[in-house]
Amino acid sequence: MKAVKGRYYFGGVHPRGGKELAQDCPTEVMPLPEEVAVSCAQSLGKPAEPIVKAGQTVKCGELIAKSDGAISSDVFASVSGTVTEIKELTAANGAIESFIFIKSDGKDEKAYLPPLTEPDAEAIKARIRDCGIVGLGGAGFPTAVKVAPKTQVDTLIVNGAECEPYLTCDHRLMLERTDEIVRGARYVARALGVTSIIIGIEVNKPDCIAKFEPYEDIKVVKLAKKYPTGGEKQLAYITTGKRIGHGRLPADYGITVQNVATCFAVCEAVEQGKPLYERVVTVSGKAVKQPKNLWVRVGTPVQSIIDYCGGEVTEQIIEKDLQTVKIDVKNKTATSENLVTEKSTVKKVVQGGPMTGVALADYDCYTHKTTSGILLLNKSEAAAEEPTPCLNCGKCADVCPMHLMPMNTAFYSAAGDFEAAAKYGNTAYCIECGACEYICPAKRPLIQAIRKTKAYLRNKK
């Protein structure tokens, strides 16, 4: 259907570009890594239980960890080969997760589930659960739980906003796999018994909007180029006008929000029986040589992704103190040259988007199902400035999409009074989009204060 304009919502920021680096790079399949380390905690909720042992041979797509509990998802081998070991490591976000190391045999033998033809709602739901599909937008909520709501849902919103700067994986996917995304959305709609499908796309992706317009059963909503338009509550408000209350689920309002990458994964799961073991990852930032959009297996080491993209951008530094002296004996002259060293320009390594992602300490990490990007930011991009005193300018409150007062949270939590921080800042509502800290002219660590307050509220319960 012809694209319509979305509603206006208060707040939000306009982060400067970053998308231009990788948005014109078509997706390419990354060569198989030699070894992958698949984490068992790939989704929100309880981590999965490993069902393989060291030394066992597995095929690509084989179940290696079984979901445990209601909110949990299955984990699959992303390469074929032998399981070398299962050990607990500290993941990028600081949590201790058990990783299953698989050494690739290079054959890449596939073990898929049988494809479904004309499936009914129950079959689709079962397939989504069996293929371990999680929300690929970032949070990683198991899709199987989302497609089995307690209340009747009538609207499916496909989230194609991709409002985070730098990330272009959804953009490329929407351009290249439009038909699969639409089919996947229809499968989800059939599973839910949904009548209307809405897709929200930001106006900075006019090519994607044009791609989706020919589909008659899909309503395309043009979203303003603003962050965090792709937030679940914001997107639901922009496209349907419904305000999702605090502590309620979108399903309570008859809405389900699914990411475009999730829809694509559902389509592959239903039509090919392919479990979720690979996804598009944007490798971008000004400190990486060749920004790319790659099909990356889950559990690929970050180091090998960076190497495939040409490595880090380096700069030459002339060391003034160190000089090499060349002595020409014949002519009895001596020349001195400054020693030049190559230095990496990387200032920050981010897994995920720059607004909500996790900063990595080194490349010794592995991708997850939810890893949408690997960003290497240089000094001018990564804001690594010392905070200055709060000006009380209120810009954080102006841009807050949830209409909160982050400066109050920061003020009271710095004083250790978390009760007041939660009361005057309404911290419980915060979606941690990071807009407040982005805009802060004093570079205050607001999200840190909010997380501290939230941790206090959690522990109090």
Binding site: V350, V358, A384, A397, H403, Y429, Y438
Partner: protein, 358 residues
């Protein structure tokens, strides 16, 4: 891999705006008014502005040097302390100095003003700002407080040319006649019996020609240029000064209409009441001061509307320009507004109160 990699909580990209940048923007916005002041009042005005800025920055530096522990330690490596000071220097004291100089008048005794402004600057920076914790922690606008301190300490700034209360508004220079100079005050004192035409025209008020007053407040056009610049740069919200001025104008018109026997509503008084005195300067440069104004939108609405009504009332009944006092009063109310007007979050669900005894 280099070990200079930074780890932090998200977001990992931030806007380029800094406190220093914003304060520099305010300085740039103040420049037209300052230049206009120098053109109208001569080199004495320039001298006062420079003196005020210098005094403010110097006070901040001295305070930075002597405050906190380890004075003798600091004396030993003074160079490092100076470097640290320049690193954290954010131009707020320059803004304070500029504003303070621009809201005082030049008189015949300009040399007196020149040293009096030093006291104002010391009071504004050392006592009002730094003692409360420096940038962002001051309770009231330092420039307004410094101005009031000066007015109360040096009476000639209040009673120049024999007109009480001219100090905050267009002050009458000895060369200018009473009605011309104190357009607003004269207007309000005489009520509506004198036709507005006998005063300065709104155009004169706008350009500041024939009006004498405070250095930065006379040329309204220059202030409007600064206002437009601030709005374009996103430093202040465009509606805030406008709201203040519109409410002020209408309240003044309404109040002026009341006389003992009859009520006349004369919209012609709107422009003079808005354009005369320090209202415009205060509304653009002093009321929206980040530190001392409320943060939520509703709080800001209340702040500007209440401030405007208060200013109109006080102007009407005291026959003085009292914008500095009004700003101080509203600054003091701001923490209360912030405390009781908490924004309602997006997706707020009204809690149903459970009836007791069920």
């Amino acid at each position: 891999m280099d070990n200079s990699i930074v780890i932090s909580t998200p977001p990992h990209v931030k806007s380029k705006r800094t406190t220093r940048g914003i304060m520099l923007d305010v300085c740039i916005a103040l420049a037209p008014a300052a230049i206009a002041g120098c053109v109208f009042f001569g080199w004495q005005a320039l001298l006062i502005i420079l003196m005020s800025v210098f005094a403010c920055v110097a006070t901040e530096f001295v305070y930075f040097f002597i405050a906190n522990k380890g004075f003798s330690e600091k004396c030993k490596n003074a160079k490092a302390v100076c470097l640290r000071w320049t690193k954290q220097f954010d131009f707020t004291s320059v803004v304070t100095g500029l504003i303070l100089a621009m809201i005082i008048p030049t008189t015949d005794k300009w040399y007196q003003v020149l040293y009096e402004v030093i006291f104002g600057a010391i009071f504004a920076i050392a006592i009002v700002k730094m003692l409360f914790g420096g940038t962002g922690k001051n309770l009231v606008n330092p420039a307004a407080a410094g101005r009031v301190f000066m007015a109360l300490s040096f009476t000639h700034l209040v009673a120049t040319s024999g007109f009480v209360g001219a100090s905050f508004g267009p002050i009458s220079d000895s060369s200018l006649v009473f009605t011309d100079a104190t357009n607003l005050a004269g207007l309000l004192t005489n009520g509506l019996d004198i036709a507005p035409s006998s005063y300065l025209s709104p155009l004169d008020l706008l350009l500041g020609t024939g009006v004498s007053g405070c250095i930065g407040e006379t040329c309204k056009l220059a202030i409007i240029i600064g206002y437009v610049y601030l709005c374009i740069r996103g430093v202040i919200k465009w509606w805030q000064p406008l709201l203040f001025l519109v409410v002020l104008g209408f309240t003044a018109v309404l109040l002026a209409g009341f006389t003992f026997d009859k009520y006349t509503f004369d919209i012609a008084l709107f422009l003079p009441s808005v354009l005369s005195g320090g209202a415009l300067f205060g509304a653009v440069f002093m009321m929206p001061d980040y530190v001392t104004s409320p943060k939520g939108v509703w709080g800001q609405l209340l702040y500007y509307v209440a401030g405007a009504i208060l200013l109109a009332l006080l102007r009407h009944f005291t026959r003085m320009e009292v914008i500095s006092f009004v700003i101080l009063l509203m600054n003091l109310v701001t923490p209360l507004i912030d405390k009781y007007l908490i924004r309602r979050p997006f997706g707020y669900i009204r809690q149903k109160k459970h009836k007791e005894g069920k």
